[in-house]
Symmetry: C2
């Protein structure tokens, strides 16, 4: 192995994970971007991930399939549950059961094969406070599981799980991303973007993203379905 450390970076194609990839690249990791096709409605995200990985210089980008639609139970994977267009209390219907656990488990498997030292994930406990698997306690517990449950952990090379955005506001994420060269115009956050990759401007994710650009004092580069009427 060369002196460069390898990292598996979970890349959804959204604003957060693009910033995470830029952070890992700025820290000089050799980055292996991993996107997971879990039957999500918003396939435009995966198209964005391909562009983001290329532009930010990932060493390799893989898209793996996992059958979370077979589990059901979320508006993001189950067409019979509507995506909400109003903020809601508690755990949102867009929560995909144990999703980040699946994503991190896949990342850990690939990291083992690559002999990578680090995993990066763009979870955020501020905007997604209703998602149990976006909290620091979850990341810490998962890292502890890798210490005892993987080859690297048993051999004393515990995989680090980095969640650099976990306590950042959306406006800070946007500013930190811009400072590292992220082009947010090629990212997709909308839960129900159309066939052309345009954002609905009405779902929770669109609302949080638009508020982030406003709070950061940065022009919103998002392409909306209705360019005249969005958050």
């Amino acid at each position: 192995m060369s002196g460069t450390l390898r990292a598996v970076v979970l890349l959804s194609g959204g604003l957060d994970s693009a910033t995470v990839l830029a952070i890992a690249r700025a820290e000089e990791f050799d980055c292996y971007a991993l996107s997971v096709d879990y039957g999500q409605r918003h396939r435009a995200e995966l198209n964005s991930a391909v562009q983001v990985a290329a532009v930010l210089g990932a060493h390799e980008h893989r898209v793996m399939r996992i059958d979370l639609a077979g589990i059901g139970g979320s508006a993001l994977t189950d067409a019979s549950i509507a995506v909400p267009e109003q903020p809601n209390a508690g755990i949102p219907v867009t929560y995909v059961p144990a999703r980040n656990l699946q994503l991190l488990a896949l990342a850990a498997g690939w990291a083992e094969v690559l002999d990578a030292s680090d995993i990066f994930i763009g979870v955020n406990a501020v905007d997604y406070s209703g998602y149990p698997d976006c909290r620091p306690e979850f990341i810490d517990a998962f890292e502890a599981t890798l210490r005892v449950g993987t080859r690297a952990g048993v051999e004393g090379r515990a995989l680090r799980v980095n969640a650099p955005l976990i306590r950042w506001s959306k406006s800070r994420i946007i500013r930190e991303g811009l400072a590292r060269g992220v082009d947010f115009a090629i990212t997709t956050s909308c839960y129900q973007s159309d066939a052309l990759g345009r954002a609905c401007g009405r779902c929770d994710s669109c609302r949080i993203r638009a508020e982030g650009f406003a709070a950061a004092g940065v022009a919103d580069p998002t392409r909306y379905v209705d360019a005249e009427n969005h958050p």
Copy 2:
């Protein structure tokens, strides 16, 4: 919900997981059997799983796909790595990186949707001492991760992860399975069984299984490719 508790039972189609399903049924759980097609070579296992789930009275049986072959790194999912036919020291090449982590993560996702209270998995720390993810430390750490990373955990209904075989010898697993009505003739353990579902009689898994029947003093019901010459 009725008074019956629900359990998601990971069912590979092998000897161990069949015994686990029989244990969960004997404890009167309403059992949701989950098999995962992770690109393993031994597809005969999945055919066995279908039969085992039906015979032992699982309420439902699902087969989910996950793309572990895309990760590579194991003789069980990568055709370029040979399945060993001699016992080896350390972590075997048949170790699939973070496999039990993936299986448990899927089980946890389905358990959340079902509002199940328990997950059952047939890991065993005795015969597979080289696999880091077959150890009690791993199961405990994973259960702790579910307490903080799932909806049920956050709402105070922590999912239990049961690994009843974890400290049992293969011969005890066989005796306990027989006592609960398991028909081991329909289970498949071989890492490289043929198109007819017959066991090679030479891989690690065949060797451990055959030694188990011998130690239990029970006739081995396995169908071997070479009926005259096997462990």
